[in-house]
Amino acid sequence: MMAINKPHELHQRRFRRNLWVGLILGGFVVLVFGITMVKISNGQKMEAFDHVVRPSLVEEAK
């Protein structure tokens, strides 16, 4: 296979597009992490049904 040594204008466009997608995905990770931290520090329950008995959830059901 012949390697491409000179980047075409097309490759630059693709790189820019991929860079944006990467930045957005990175930002999304940070945002979800931030939301999680806020919810936990507000004392919201972060547990749900998980196919095993969860004492904390049983307590609440009472």
């Binding site: 075409h8 097309l10 466009r13 693709r14 820019r16 597009r17 944006w20 997608v21 945002l31 931030g34 939301i35 806020v38 507000n42």
Partner: protein, 316 residues
């Protein structure tokens, strides 16, 4: 090699082309009204949750914009105003727009549900459904009432913002909905008056196309009059106050005067000065909506600073 040369024929899309699919200018209205709905609610929201929720509402609105452009790409190609959109200009394929719209719809609704609550997420999902299926696919091409009923889609964001904060629906959020809902017909019909040729060419049954400009001018006046009490009701609700009351009084006086002026004009007069009054009324309509929501924000700020007028009557 063959893949490269094939890709060169279709112009490779830039990131900005995909962003343009989300209709950034419509999005700014969605962000603003949703933010006001959230901020004027009597329940405080953590700033990060508020920001994230507004972001997801904006993405949901953008997703419906992309789906609208996918469905309407044939009309957009015919109309001057929309010919340079990403799909008709050939930079993004219609299928890509559809996929982007569908994925962003699902993601924004799910994320809003997880971040805020499922009532807000449900309202967002309904908004997207309403705009894409009820408005774009069904009403837009079949009835001159398209704008009247379709306006509901644009009116939901403040209600979603309110639901993010309160988890419910109340008279205040319904009146914020009513404000945008009743405002949409005069706003778009004014645009249709001076963009008439475009809509005629594309075969979209806008009111001036189907019933003529005389009837359109009359309907603008009727809807402007019907719109005026909505601001008054908001002024005497829990989120209103004297500043908002003065603003809605002034804005409605200007809006009704403008609508009356349009009603008195004939098509000949409008053509003679290149639709100057119609364009002015269209710009005024933008100010009307932004100032009303801005006024609600001012009242919320005054209450927050403890400067609310204690004796102000709350009738609803």
């Amino acid at each position: 090699m063959s893949e490269l040369s094939a890709a060169k024929q279709v112009e490779e899309a830039e990131f900005g082309d995909y962003f343009a699919l989300l209709k950034p200018r419509v999005m700014s209205l969605v962000v603003f009204t949703a933010a006001v709905g959230l901020l004027v609610a009597p329940v405080p929201v953590h700033p990060l949750i508020a920001m994230a929720s507004i972001l997801f509402i904006a993405i949901g609105g953008g997703a419906s914009g992309a789906l609208n452009m996918w469905w309407d790409s044939d009309i957009d190609l015919v109309m001057k105003r929309t010919r340079n959109r990403p799909i008709p200009s050939g930079r993004v394929s219609a299928n890509d727009a559809k996929l982007l719209g569908l994925w962003l719809s699902g993601a924004s609704v799910a994320m809003l549900g997880l971040t805020a609550n499922w009532l807000a997420a449900g309202l967002l999902a309904f908004t997207i459904f309403f705009y894409v299926v009820i408005y774009s696919m069904w009403l837009k091409r079949s009835t001159p009432q398209n704008i009247v009923i379709g306006g509901a889609a644009g009116a939901f964001p403040p209600m979603i913002g309110w639901a993010v904060a309160t988890g419910g629906i109340s008279i205040e959020s319904i009146m914020m909905f009513a404000l945008t809902f009743m405002w949409t017909p005069p706003h778009f019909w004014a645009l249709a008056l001076f963009m008439n040729d475009d809509y005629t060419k594309a075969g979209v049954p806008m009111l001036p196309v189907t019933h003529g400009t005389r009837e359109t001018r009359k309907q603008i006046l009727i809807y402007t009059l019907l719109l005026s009490p909505v601001g008054m009701i908001l002024a005497f609700s829990q989120i209103g106050g004297p500043v908002f009351f003065m603003m809605t009084l002034a804005l409605n006086a200007m809006f009704i005067t403008g609508a009356w002026r349009l009603y008195r004009r004939t098509e000949g007069m409008a053509k003679a000065d290149a639709f100057q009054a119609e364009r002015k009324f269209f710009r005024l309509s933008l100010l009307y909506l932004f100032a009303h929501f801005g006024g609600l924000l001012i009242e919320a700020g005054l209450r927050w600073a403890g400067l609310g007028l204690a004796g102000w009557p709350h009738l609803v």
